[in-house]
Symmetry: C2
Subunit: 194 residues, 2 copies
DNA sequence: AATATTCTTGAATACATATTCAAGAAAGGA
DNA sequence: TCCTTTCTTGAATATGTATTCAAGAATATT
């Protein structure tokens, strides 16, 4: 027996970045071999084909993002303070003007959702689980009596998801803090004010 | 002298729909000749190349959307009622699950903004002018004393733009009225409540 | 050390795609 | 009616791309 030589996580993160910058269609296998350091044969051996590598990269993206969120919200602070920091992070990502800081899920859904049912299903599922994670945070805020008891956590999370989608798109056209921060601030205010 | 035979608007709208469904990269010249009824030579004669046709299609899209908005807001009703209907229209578009009802500007910006400065500039400019049009509507609402005098029309318009971006993305993952309508309703409430 | 197994390499293949161009068709002016 | 001009046609070209595969290299086992 002989083991594969490459570091799968490194390869997937490199592919991830390439797909985020170029999109799926405009990323060539040549781009991917350059970014990952793998030769075509190795890629096809490990991931079947270009789409297989793409899906694996999306799954790695979801893994990374999920871990990041768990770290951000695992502490003894108020859930609202954590939410404020989380929105601050998204503002920062928007300011960075760095495509690798954007959302691979919504980007892929926008590019391929209409043509590829599998990609649509995977991205939608991952975005839903993000929505669920946010729901639980609002649920905790309700238990901590930080928001009214009659609040609908699911709905608040959905509204926040909507706001973040919107914030990220605004950031594409106007990546400046004078625009993004007031939007994020009002979004948080509107969420907790009933 | 001899005049061109084809109807430019029809051609541009056909190309527009094709680009909306497939995206730019995945739309082949063959797709475009089929959709427009033009032969390659005619397309290259009239629009230089694929990108030229794409830009012309985007400009037609902006023209159509601008006219649509002017019609929706040109009446004697309250600006807020008009805004409510406008959001209702966007909810309807989201429910339709029809790619040709989505926003070509944000889709193109997401796909190509990172790679093509010209496309980025054009789409950003058009999205800005949409923002401006909404600003004027809030300005009118202020004059009609429908919203507080100290309201910042620019900011309200920016927040509405953010909300609509978000609403459209939510619609991609959950095109059902039970999800979209409450989001749109809260968005409008949050806008006019200070 | 020898051998079997698995991984790696990268040139070759097969296919798709954007673009060109020269010949043909239609329209207007003399 | 003839001729010039302009538009149309679509096959040909040149380029790019995803994928394959057979030979070579590395590892583990006997």
């Amino acid at each position: 027996m002989r083991h594969a030589e490459f570091d799968k996580q490194k390869v997937l993160r490199a592919a991830m970045c390439t797909f985020m910058v170029n999109g799926y269609a405009k990323t060539s296998m040549q781009d991917l071999t350059k970014a990952t350091g793998l030769h075509p044969g190795s890629i096809y051996c490990a991931f079947d084909n270009k789409k297989g590598l793409f899906i694996a990269a999306i799954e790695q993206y979801q893994l990374d993002r999920t871990q990041q969120m768990q770290q951000l919200f695992t502490n003894e602070r108020s859930a609202l303070d954590n939410l404020r920091d989380y929105l601050g992070l998204i503002v920062q990502e928007g300011l960075s003007c760095d495509a690798t800081q954007s959302c691979l899920l919504t980007k892929s859904l926008s590019e391929m959702g209409e043509q590829d049912d599998q990609i649509k299903q995977i991205t939608c599922e991952f975005l839903q689980s993000w929505h669920q994670a946010l729901s639980q945070i609002f649920e905790r805020a309700k238990q901590q009596q930080l928001i009214p008891q009659q609040s609908d956590s699911q709905f608040l999370a959905q509204y926040l998801v909507m706001g973040i989608y919107g914030l990220r798109t605004v950031a594409t056209t106007q990546p400046c803090i004078e625009v993004l921060q007031p939007l994020a601030d009002k979004l948080l205010r509107d969420l907790i004010s009933g």
